[in-house]
Symmetry: D2
Subunit: 363 residues, 4 copies
């Protein structure tokens, strides 16, 4: 399949550029009978949308989604669901200055060489604006998964140099950062304010957790659940690393330390991040992703133009100084899409399985 | 597609268990006219095969591959290539003791819940023995990529707590660890010897690099080159993390630091790991992967049996105390398979592209 | 992949119901640099659209398409192309009478059992209205194929009992039937007028031909070009049979009769329909398809309601008495989509092939 | 995916040439817990295998299959099933005479142009020998489908000019032709004997029927059950046409005649062939396929060699004078694979559906 489709039984196909007329998605494979309203989609779209705090881009997009098909009298019909979001606040002339040059660390250069021509306005198809549709599609998956007892939540676990230990889910939705510790928020705000004064940007780390997933999701060998999660999360703009459970910390762990022991009451730890042999174990599924600093900053950087001449690049337009701030709902959406697909696949292939062993939780 | 197939135009499908009669693969989509001999496959299979040093499992498998189809008079025909490796050194009775219990941190538990029944001998399908076929298939991709000027090489960049800075490619093939610094080898040997005395295992970090890749490989949005690399590398047994370029270090990097500036002579750095916007930039493609410590150790661990009763597990049989030691050829193979697939896809969809801008190397 | 996507490198994904707000499609994998305008799409949409003669449904749909993405300054960018057609002339209340019953020979019954609930208005997703998006997507494929010297054209070869021998392409576009013999048109018109008076419907046979296809398209074993054509054409509403070349006539042919002999000047016949071993031979590709009579007629028929009670069904609403009349552009579109996909796939996998043997035409 | 894989949740991937060392297949997605023995596979392989009567090729192949993986202690494990059949009776030197020329109506010409080089021995990959693996894979699907109450059977419905009306299933397995009327067999034998004396070949028509399929299999829009059946059946060597139900006869049928009326006791006819709107209706699924006369005959035919020179071709070697005679088990296998895939897909996506309406059979 070409690259704008994700999934096998539950598939999401998207199209749309940052400054084109609209974003569009087709979500295929959603079971029939699911109650689905615009509010279900809009809730997560609003969590991702720009312009809601001073720490994100000031582009004003209502990101209002229209359901074009697949829902009848408030319930899914089992048919493909078409989704549409009109772009409303393009300021394309901001970008004419960069039409013929390559912003460092940006897809300008690679799209130019791959396609020979490109829509340079706002990054075109390579813009993170595309992720709005992932969030809308993911909201459908989340809604269905909730009917199966699965809850997916994310939070920011590091902003630049500031590590953010998890405290509780309570405050995550109450601040602009998806920060799980309200006491940390002032420090994050101060850091961001200084960053803007420095005309710079910074990276972030996001953690996503799925609870309530039963054992058995994930298809060996290549479609392991962790492999598909890595695929989905690495496909988000600016992501440069993905970890499951202990992640890179496992390199220095010994077997006696890393292995999650089992007792009749449950697992004693979760270094595995809820996935063993590529298949969900029933523990919470935990993934971390690293997002790089955006390349769109106003501090000049060395680059070249399409003719090979050296230039100094300053990126104007409206940009996020830390794309990680809005990434939490996107990461949740991608995890939801992967779990949804594997839930349906597992159900299709293993419906006959009868296992009497009790499913363990985590102590 | 079901989970034992990887790729879209260049596809690899595998089957086979650790203690079954044989491993088998079908490699589809290899262009015709490629000179291909058994030696081409055997070379990498020998690099991965067990029993070649005291630091890996002592199971003796010659891993001799047979080409069943797709090659005629020494050249590929364009038709599907069938590959077969017979298992020869199974000692299945070693495993009867663990038939009804779950080794901690092992796929036993998840396969049991997913499938209801399982081939417990040597881990069955979840054994890393399966990766032999990835290496054989990857060798075909490597051979073709070499005709396009692309070279893929890997090395061990960390063993347990010992970081191994890259020194040169020269010594990588000369030691059991794929260590890029010959002066570090004694330290690694001593560490492994102690580890065996401790009846423990440990994790490792592997780095893989592809040089000679032209700009343009990778399909937005979901089939980004980095996303598919993450998928492929995370699908390797025991991998818990994948990084592209700077990876998780990018979280603390500012935009002025992370961005790789361009000059007419070339890129000035490679934090991107050779991929921008999901598309190869022409710089070397660099990926890192974290492998956990194997769970098969003789130090007892708490677990349960299939009836839910508590047990102490000691894993006998022959096992690698550090599965990362043999992982370098596997990681190379998976990177080769991904690049091969994207080379063909890019050629199919973008054959008409004419770009006059010179391709930059890295300074 | 779920069922609303077709193709592998060139993929078409659609959504939308007969009486929903809109039809939508995402066309992925179109090479960059193709000049593409609304007119290119509208031309074929107008050939398919309803209400242009008294022989088709009187529903008035302008079928005006909007391009949402993937085209910049009049040329494709290589990115996914979003397409939107608003429904404007729904008369949903016409359908309330059939809400709880099954029209004989209609998808009502099977959608009900598959999904448990359904959008009954105008047939919902099962309506041939869906084919508008196939035509729009196919127009993109046709435009690209034309740049490669490939022309795809179709005609009606039988209407009910009236066989229509091919005379010339000249008149096909000049009549409401896509009839290749202008002298036959009055007979067809008279037949249709009588049919409407009889409150009945009838089947038709369509023939599609692709000229200019070079040898080599089609992937053994399962993705043979003829197999994928059969898939694509059989997926059109109401189609019950597909033939390649001689089709069912080959059953009674002997080998000495069926085989298309070759001379240095060309093939002497084309029983193969341009495909040998699943791969294009360079001869014209010829396919025939049989469309059944629509089930939506006003002559009462026996059926049951959703509770299992017997009912007499009369289908009101606006319907085509012969769906085959508007099927020619749809069949052309599906053939174009298949050829486009295989052109890109063949280019990707077999770019290195050098064959000195001249390509033969047909005598 | 490349062309040697069929299916989405239940996938079959094959490799192997007529005169290479072996045929191989990987069957992925079979649910765990299915009892499966070599006998289950061998039964259908024996029905297809050559050399069992004077009316088929005299090549002697035992077609003994080996199960390499995916079955443990007599039951499937849910893991990929590897299958191997060694070729044992190749007589490759028979083919040296045709190495550099193209047999009319044969894949020689198209493989040559597609791949530049080819394994000419016995047709290489284009040989119908490849279908042995389809039969083995299909036998697995049949075995599983039988546990769901689905039975798939086929018969010859026409041999050359001789139409064979269906009489009963009883005699189908008792004669070399899969003829459903024992009284017709002498006529078929006499026809074949004369055909061999004429040094000619002839086409045939096969009918396949699936009984016990519940309503709901098939995914709109492009993965309709009939579309995928057409794909699967047209992918069999020599097939030039596929019909569902009434097939091409529907062209001349009026709506009042074609529509299958429903009563509370059942459907009154089955012109639909058990599929409405691309979804199974619960009636028997009926498909017909047309197989052309093989091109491998000893009556000379005009052709050219690879240099473009005219030649007279006589095909020696051992060939079937009517490939349709052995096609019945192959057609059954392909229908089984399609139904199996759709059974799993439907179960995955529509597990929640609760429909109280009774399922109708056919009167």
């Amino acid at each position: 399949m070409s690259g704008n489709t994700f999934g096998k039984l539950f598939t999401v196909t998207t199209a749309g550029e940052s400054h084109g007329p609209a974003l569009v998605a087709i979500v295929d494979g959603c079971p029939p009978g699911l109650e689905l309203s615009l509010d279900d989609l809009q809730h997560d779209l609003n969590r991702r949308k720009p312009g809601t705090s001073r720490h994100t881009t000031q582009r004003q997009e209502p990101d209002e989604v229209e359901i074009l098909s697949g829902v009848f009298e408030g319930r899914t019909t089992g048919c493909a669901i078409g989704l549409l979001i009109r772009n409303t606040d393009q300021k394309s002339k901001d970008y004419s200055a960069i039409k013929d040059l390559f912003r460092p660390s940006h897809a300008d250069y690679t799209y130019h060489h791959k396609y020979g021509e490109r829509d340079y306005r706002g990054g075109g198809r390579s813009s993170a604006r595309e992720t709005a549709m992932r969030v809308a599609a993911g909201a459908i998956a989340k809604k269905y998964l909730a009917t199966q007892g699965i809850v997916i939540r994310g939070y920011m676990s590091q902003l630049g140099p500031i590590e953010i230990p998890f405290k509780s889910w309570d405050s995550v939705q109450d601040n602009a950062f998806f920060c799980p510790d309200p006491d940390k928020v002032p420090e994050l705000e101060a850091y961001m304010d200084q960053l803007r004064r420095d005309q710079d940007s910074v990276g972030a780390k996001i953690t996503v957790v799925a609870e309530g997933v039963k054992p058995g999701l994930g298809e060996p060998i290549f479609d392991r659940l962790d492999a598909e999660l890595a695929h989905a999360l690495m496909s988000i703009n600016a992501v440069k690393g993905v970890e499951i459970g202990a992640g890179f910390a496992c390199v220095a762990q010994r077997g006696t330390e890393h292995r999650d022991e089992l007792t009749p009451e449950g697992f004693l730890s979760n270094n595995a991040g809820g996935i063993l042999g590529g298949i969900s174990s029933g523990q919470p599924i935990v993934a971390h992703l690293a997002l790089k600093a955006t390349s769109s900053i106003t501090t000049p950087g060395r680059s070249i133009d399409v003719h090979g001449n050296p230039v100094d690049v300053i990126t104007k337009g409206r940009h996020d100084p830390c794309v990680g701030i809005r990434a939490t709902p996107i990461a949740e959406a991608m995890m939801a899409i992967v779990l949804m697909d594997h839930l349906l696949r597992n159900r299709g292939q293993n419906a006959d399985v009868r296992v009497s062993t009790p499913v363990l939780g985590q102590l």
